[in-house]
Amino acid sequence: MKPLLLILLPLAGAVLAAVWPGERTRPWLMPVFGLMHTVLAFWLLFDPPVVAPGAWLAFDPLARAVLPAVSLLFLVCAAYGVSYLRVRSERPNRVFVAMMLAVLGLLSAGHQARHLGLLWIATEGVTLAAVPLLHFNGTARAIEATWKYLLVGGTGIALSLLGSFCLSYASLHSGGSGDLTFVALAHQGAGLSRPWVLSAWVLLLVGYGTKMGLAPMHTWKPDAYGEAPGIVGAILAGGVTTVAFTAVLRIRAVVSAAGEGAIADRTLLAIGLFSMLVAALFLLGTRDFKRMLAYSSVEHMGILSVGAALGGAGVWAALFHVWSNSLTKGALFLSAGNINRAAGGRTMDQVRGMSIIAPQSAAIFVAGMFAVTACPPFGPFFSELRVVRAAFDAGRSGAAAMFLGCMLFAFFGLTRLVFAIVDGRPRPASSITSRRFPENASVVMPPLILLAFSLWLGLATPTVLLDAWTGAVAQLYLAP
């Protein structure tokens, strides 16, 4: 019942938000339902339910290893969202609140889906529900970004549907009964028809990779993250991408059961390293700090993909990285939103001297930047260290070297841009906007909390999480 509630509660909240009369009170629905969701998710984290093998939806070990992170991120973002929507009271927020909650519900469904078709439906639902969030600002640029997101994301989703069909046909071809749960598919194992499994893998990787934002399917990301409100960027980067990542992990397990694991790992490694390379190169060139976050997200998706390619230890490190990346990215997006509002601009040509205008947000932004570029003692340092170790253990020292090289360039790119924004004398125009949007606890605390979580994750990773990640690896690698 509780797993189902994880999905139904936010959806009910979405319906409630759609009919809620008060414009000023409506945003409070987000933290209220977010809190209920988080309580449920952590309850299930500490007390995992028994999973029926044939279930279509279940809080299985993989969901247990990822979903609480998304839930936590959402809760903090929702708390931030209340103050954000108060600042942006000129825009109607009915659709925004409803769609935020719908995204949470569908994300929970996507993480818990153990059925190929259901997974697709949930992911497509998330994609569509995020559309109104992206053009919340209603500017021409926001609409341009939304159109690109819809076109690229829609194509990716269409390809993943085609891939799902290919995988179903592979199962049907080898005498399957049409049961498309991942357990049943993995159970058919080597009996699955090889050409169909390979075509399915390529299409599904491209499809869900588009959703993750792996290069070269990442083109929607800079535009969407650049134009969307910071809170939406945080949910997209920390939540929506992870559902696509768990989808890739589940499918990889099926492909590996079919005896094509080596090919799957090789493609994951190649696409992951390529994403890191592309992201590093663009990070060196971009002048816009919100687009910078998008490229950083592409880089971290590459890290996840590399981790997923490196066997059990790699997957464990990747799951760790999902947590540290989600929380750190959330802190960065929220503080970037503060800076953006206070400075009234987004590029390093328009924004200077933020350490004077918005000192607290700028401090969080700098700390978050160090966290996301894997500086100790934050979470990403430890998770990425484990990915590198897994690469060396797997005998892929070339890949590890490239990984480290890309990280170095990304570090150059990020520091260049961040310090250009933080240092120097503020521009005169910024002093007016910053008075309109003063820093207060309601906008500074959420990113600070996320950063604190990231730190805690690095210094003292809770044993229950270690246990959850080990369980998920066991599910993916020891399943029949």
């Binding site: 439906i121 497509e124 569509l128 559309v131 159109w147 819809l150 194509t155 989703i157 046909y169 498309l180």
Partner: protein, 219 residues
């Protein structure tokens, strides 16, 4: 058995027609023609599930009817309305020329036929054009998505892509549980409507449906 053969012959003829409509969509230089080609393709696709069933089935008939209505009339109607209200220039304005896209499309069709020979089929699907037709439509959709600059023609490209996937889905019509099918249909429909709304917003914000004007965001 003979009836089965005849039915699969008709089915192949319809798929051939759909492939021809792909090429027509690629070659059409005016928006009404393009929308018309996509609409006819939608109707042709809607008929197919009825041919695949051995005996009459209410649910399949309902799905077929729904597909025909949505793909053949509702969406093309919406697109035509968008075209009229936006009073856009009816020329398609390709960024990949018509001859080039036609050659790409037919190259894709030939490649699809060649590729589908490498994929093993169940005995009841042997000799069917479903797989090549599906791949060809997906490729055509890609060419339209990349090679056309108006939002409406890109939506048409997306529809052709979707049609290709639908064709593939027909292989599984006996296997996939109805719940999934219904969910997929729902998602596709909602997706199209969301697209329509965004097209409307683009029109209002930019006073044009030419996506080449959406060029502020770039590195």
């Amino acid at each position: 058995m003979e009836r089965r053969c005849r039915v699969s012959g008709t089915l192949n003829l319809l798929i051939g027609l759909a492939m021809g409509l792909n090429l027509l969509a690629l070659a059409s230089s005016r928006l009404p023609t393009l929308i018309g080609a996509v609409a006819v393709q939608g109707v042709v696709l809607g008929v197919m599930p009825l041919l695949m069933e051995h005996q009459f089935d209410w649910i399949v008939a309902l799905v077929a009817l729904g597909t025909m209505a949505v793909k053949g009339f509702v969406i093309p109607g919406l697109l035509r309305r968008a075209m009229r209200t936006a009073s856009v220039d009816r020329e398609v304005e390709p960024s990949i020329g018509f001859v080039a896209s036609l050659l790409l499309g037919s190259g894709g069709t030939i490649a699809a036929v060649a590729l589908s020979r490498a994929l093993p089929l169940l005995p009841e699907h042997a000799g069917s054009l479903l797989v090549p037709g599906s791949i060809a439509s997906v490729l055509t959709g890609f060419v339209l998505l990349i090679g056309r600059s108006k939002a409406i023609s890109q939506v048409c490209g997306y529809l052709v892509l979707e049609n290709g996937i639908y064709l593939f889905g027909l292989l599984l019509i006996h296997a996939t549980p109805l719940l999934v099918e219904a969910g997929i249909l729902l998602d596709v429909t909602v997706g199209i409507f969301v697209t329509g709304i965004i097209v409307d917003r683009i029109q209002r914000a930019f006073d044009s449906l030419d996506t080449r004007k959406l060029n502020v965001l770039r590195e």
